[in-house]
């Protein structure tokens, strides 16, 4: 049983990181936007889960009291209501995901707009500052997501009873597979070539009539929407939103490390990177107990050093990653001729 739980846990972790890293690959890998604020859209998605569904249900069920201060008792009542209402749970889940997509798009636009016309450095810092700022607001302004203590989210998978963990992990993973096909379709179309053109030479791309600012903004909107979905799903999966947990290290640096390891601007590479990385991480956690007697400090800190060194080594010696970027497949000449005839 423990082995299954372990695998399931890995499935959900892989799913969330897959969504984040694919969205990072779309904006940073393909379009060349220095998105060092991936955590921003992720927090946005999580805050949507923290803010909307619980309050909606509380009003619907006619509960009195403050959602943040009486969180525990209200969530308990809400969850026992949701456990027997499959339809309402699912409708609420889908509605929340849609709101998260919309909110993610807004956040993507707002965070990129100030610095989109200036160089990559200021843009990188702006995105980072926005992510950090939203986290600070979330930590100190309790009505949004319970402040530093955090808040419980309604469990829209309560109907599954004992299999809740299984269901939610599978849902997260299915979402990530769907997003893989979506991003892959997007980047293997002429759009993907346009994004690469913007990344490789802005002046050349502009001379060919590409609206660079527009392309960058739209790319950030789509990728932030994906990251917001990842954040919302992660919040539903863990059942709580704690602002202090959304750190730059776990939700910006690790996706970057995964992307660099797998291969920039290669979706299959990104998938490889995510799986390799999560597997390595689980190995470290598994052998943590064996290492602990020999080390005078927590192995977790060694873990981050290893990631840092790994990123440095990859960038120095194999900047293309495990699976290098490939040309986008275009239609074959014979297919084009056939199309011309018909």
């Amino acid at each position: 049983m423990a082995a299954i739980d372990f695998l399931l846990d890995m499935l959900a972790t892989v799913g969330v990181y897959l969504m984040l890293t694919l969205s990072l690959n779309l904006d940073s890998g393909y379009c060349g936007i220095p998105n060092f604020g991936k955590v921003l859209a992720m927090i946005a998605g999580a805050f949507v889960v923290a803010f909307f569904p619980g309050r909606i249900l509380a009003t619907m069920l006619g509960m009195s009291g403050d959602f943040v201060t009486d969180n525990a008792s209200m969530i308990f009542q809400i969850n026992s209501f949701l456990a027997s209402n499959f339809l309402i749970s699912t409708a609420l889940f889908i509605a929340t995901i849609i709101v998260a997509i919309g909110f993610g798009m807004i956040v993507g636009y707002v965070s990129t707009r100030p610095a989109v016309k200036i160089g990559s450095g200021p843009l990188a810092i702006t995105l980072l500052v926005m992510g950090e700022g939203l986290r600070v607001i979330g930590t100190n302004y309790a009505p949004l997501a319970g402040g530093s203590i955090g808040i419980s989210a309604p469990d829209v998978f309560a109907w599954a009873g004992g299999d809740r963990f299984l269901v939610v992990s599978v849902v997260v993973f299915v979402f990530s597979v769907a997003i893989f096909f979506f991003v892959n379709r997007l980047t293997n179309a002429p759009l993907g070539r346009m994004l690469r053109a913007v990344r490789d030479n802005e002046i050349a791309a502009e001379s060919l009539g590409i609206d660079i600012v527009g392309v960058k903004l739209k790319t950030m909107m789509v990728s932030s929407a994906i990251a917001a979905v990842a954040g919302a799903l992660y919040a539903f999966y863990s059942g709580a939103v704690i602002s202090t947990a959304y750190t730059r290290a776990s939700w910006t640096f690790i996706p970057w490390a995964m992307m660099l390891l797998g291969g920039v601007a290669n979706n299959v590479g990104v998938v490889t990177g995510v799986f390799t990385f999560v597997f390595l991480r689980k190995l470290i956690v598994m052998y943590k107990a064996e290492l602990t007697p020999y080390l005078p400090f927590d192995v977790l800190w060694l873990e981050l050093i290893l990631y840092g060194v790994m990123v440095i080594l990859i960038l120095m010696y194999r900047p293309e990653g495990l699976i290098p970027e490939k040309r986008t497949p275009t239609l074959k000449m014979s297919t084009l001729k056939k199309m011309q005839k018909t």
Binding site: S28, G32, P34, F36, R113, P114, A115, K117, I118, G119, S120, G121, P122, A124, I125, T126, L128, V129, M130, E132, G133, V136, I137, T139, N140, A249, F253, W256, A257, L260, F297, W301, L302, E303, L304, I305, Y307, G308, V309, M310, V311, I312, L315, M316, P319
Partner: protein, 286 residues
């Protein structure tokens, strides 16, 4: 009421002068190399821990503890440039990611070597409190602000009066032209990166006269420095002082009148507004 405002403004002014010194290293690196040092806050934190270790092992005073740390940081900077950055020159995204990797290593190193508890030092030879009316400011903060001014003037004179400094400015203006004029651009970049890191040790040592070092201080100093550099006009040394004073006063006013926890929000807000409305900075070159 007016009294409280005055206190808040004076305290912010002193803080701003200190912040100017913290942001100086970042500004030199960005101005000369056009490189965003994402590990700046981490290096400030590391230098603060260095000061702590040097003082606790040798018994030196904090105010001179930067002397052994300065050459080490300079050397580390030169090595990082020749070992890592040189290979990724011309690919800004990889450079930023590289510095992020360095940042992660420093963060974990500090936690491993220094532990999670904040580290403070006994007071230095500068102690006591300066009373201006009802306002009390510790002498160590005033001293730090004075040191900051002196250091900024020295760096400004170095960049505008010496041959090496002028070469740095030339390389930042036009890399190719500087190269054609016989400037060894790689060497200049290595020097600039070394200088940028070395300049971190002095503010770190003086910060330790009245502050604790803790493993999360990188966050504060990193974002603070970026904000000051952006306000000053990216890469302008001369704009740092007014920019830092604006940041210091804004922070101080928010802490006094809104909420102490929100001290970083006005800085972020200022940064975003400046980047949006005046991307060349408030005191940038026309």
């Amino acid at each position: 009421m007016l009294d409280v405002v005055a206190q808040s403004v004076i305290s912010g002014l002193i803080n701003g002068l200190i912040y100017a010194m913290v942001a100086l290293g970042l500004s030199v690196i960005y101005g000369v190399m056009d490189l965003i040092n994402f590990a700046h806050g981490e290096f400030v934190m590391l230098a603060m821990y260095f000061t702590f270790w040097i003082v606790s092992f040798s018994g030196l005073d904090q105010t001179v503890a930067f002397l052994p740390a300065l050459p080490i940081f300079f050397l580390v900077g030169v090595l990082i440039y020749y070992g890592m950055l040189n290979r990724t020159m011309g690919t800004p995204l990889s450079q930023i990611a590289l510095m992020l990797g360095v940042a992660m290593v420093i963060r974990s190193f500090v936690q491993i070597a220094g532990g999670t508890a904040p580290k403070g030092l006994p007071p230095s030879f500068i102690f006591g409190v300066l009373n201006i009316g009802s306002l009390a400011i510790s002498y160590s903060r005033v001293a730090t602000a004075v040191v900051s001014l002196v250091l900024l003037i020295i760096v400004h004179l170095f960049l505008t009066k010496t041959y090496t400094g002028l070469s740095m400015l030339a390389a930042s203006d036009d890399r190719t032209a500087a190269y054609l004029m016989g400037i060894n651009v790689k060497r200049i970049y290595a020097l600039a990166f070394g200088l940028g890191l070395a300049l971190v040790t002095i503010p770190a040592a003086f910060l330790m006269t009245y502050q604790h070092a803790d493993p999360s201080s990188y966050l504060r100093f990193g974002l603070l420095s970026w904000c000051i550099v952006a306000l000053a006009g990216l890469g302008r040394i001369s704009g740092i002082i007014p920019a830092a004073i604006i940041v210091g006063i804004a922070e101080s006013l928010v802490v006094t009148f809104v909420a102490p926890e929100a001290h970083s929000l006005p800085i972020y807000l200022l940064f975003i507004l400046v980047i949006w409305l005046k991307p060349k900075g408030l005191f940038g070159r026309k």
